[in-house]
Symmetry: C2
Subunit: 301 residues, 2 copies
Amino acid sequence: MLPSKVTLVEVGPRDGLQNEPGTIACADKIALIHALAEAGLTRIEAGAFVNPKWVPQMADSEAVFAGIERRSGVSYSALTPNLKGFERARAARASEVAIFAAASEAFSRKNLNCSIDDSLARFSDVTRAARAANIPVRGYISCVLGCPYSGAVDPALCVEIAQALLAMGCFEVSLGDTIGVGTVASTRALLEPMLKAIGPEQLAVHMHDTYGQALANVYQSLQMGISVVDASVAGLGGCPYAQGASGNLATEDVLYLLNGLGIEHGVALDKIVQAGDQICRTLGIANHSRVAQALLANFKK
Amino acid sequence: MLPSKVTLVEVGPRDGLQNEPGTIACADKIALIHALAEAGLTRIEAGAFVNPKWVPQMADSEAVFAGIERRSGVSYSALTPNLKGFERARAARASEVAIFAAASEAFSRKNLNCSIDDSLARFSDVTRAARAANIPVRGYISCVLGCPYSGAVDPALCVEIAQALLAMGCFEVSLGDTIGVGTVASTRALLEPMLKAIGPEQLAVHMHDTYGQALANVYQSLQMGISVVDASVAGLGGCPYAQGASGNLATEDVLYLLNGLGIEHGVALDKIVQAGDQICRTLGIANHSRVAQALLANFKK
């Protein structure tokens, strides 16, 4: 039941960096994106066209997109919450854009300032414009395994939202355990109805490691046929809902799992370790990849 | 195929603390063991009767065993590499003793100073004496998924050693991925022949998190019918083979997985988090449990 090939979607430069405090030089973001593409990643979230008042770290996304040398076969995507963001992304020549719904009314209202239904209506403007411009749109659903405000989330609601996103033209829906509360059991309980309604080729998982479960949850997902996995180099991006807690699953740790399983992915682990080490040194932050910690510790011997 | 009940073997007070530099007060070790038993753990590795020249941190194991108030239904075990150690453990009223073989000739020679065969001969003196004294003996095999000196390890050799340990009277064999290099794939490749030769009720797994794979490997093991899992509160115990790398899998993180799966274990997660927080504060070290990090971060909100 395991897929023979897995595609990694690298979210470090956007999801990973967006909550970093302090200024990150545009050149450092560009160097990171170059290093990730050079390592063999073919899908890289490179920035976000959102209101800089809310996400100041992404305010230079135009400059990032203008500065990257595009590699053939690599998709550089941008988060676009609305039509205005989409127009900026198109002008910046983003290969792909992404929209962001939530599987919880409470989270949607707190983060998108509107109901789930209203957010979907707003996103349909984006998907319509993207279709006209021939730009693929990825849909994210956050809080699929739990909401920081309202707790448990109904898998049936997740399926409904995923179907709505696909119906409006998304080519893929990434299921996000935004607060990392999921376990292999809740992952299975979500994916069972999801995979009855939607083919695995239209689904991705985006697991957070807040409770140390992310890699086990990815393994559970692979066992059920999922073959697109989101991850963040060096585990960039903490958990904004619990200071000091872990956040994104590290790309390096997923690669180690895939290498063990002999699943094809096309990415050079050693180059990813170097890319993660470089950005962590530049920013003066800890590297949250256990694989990177182990390999870099060995290098130092 | 998942077990309905899992027993945790807590290795924090021994495997977790043994490589900590600096003096740890005997009273702090005793308080930790009390807190772990109070939380519902029924199998606790409380110390080691080894040459204090090699493991100075365990030099006070007699005092630890003399100081703990025994809880009914709780087994307090001690590592005993030889007959001399066993006699000390018996005098200290250890409920159970453990012997330690390796699945690699290179590791055996470096760590036990003898071949695998010679170590088994030495251990048979211990199991003979233990049988006479009616003290149960647990067998460990280290390096089952890889050796720091010689690399890959043959599952067939692991099976042979496990059978030898059971034949000399061990009631259970714990399979240790000492350097944490294993993946779900190598875990499966080990357990497949192992479970053909030996019933799951005589096997345990002891996974290290050096490459972030430990919990996924435990999940793989559970899926194959393993129901005894070693873990260390707060992830105590780094990796002696890679400075700065992660070591033992945290008890808290395993409990979170089991809670998600609805698998019975009898342990109160909140009390384990408190016990881990306490020992980490006392020692001034980082808490490596991601569950503890997340829950303690929330407590501080």
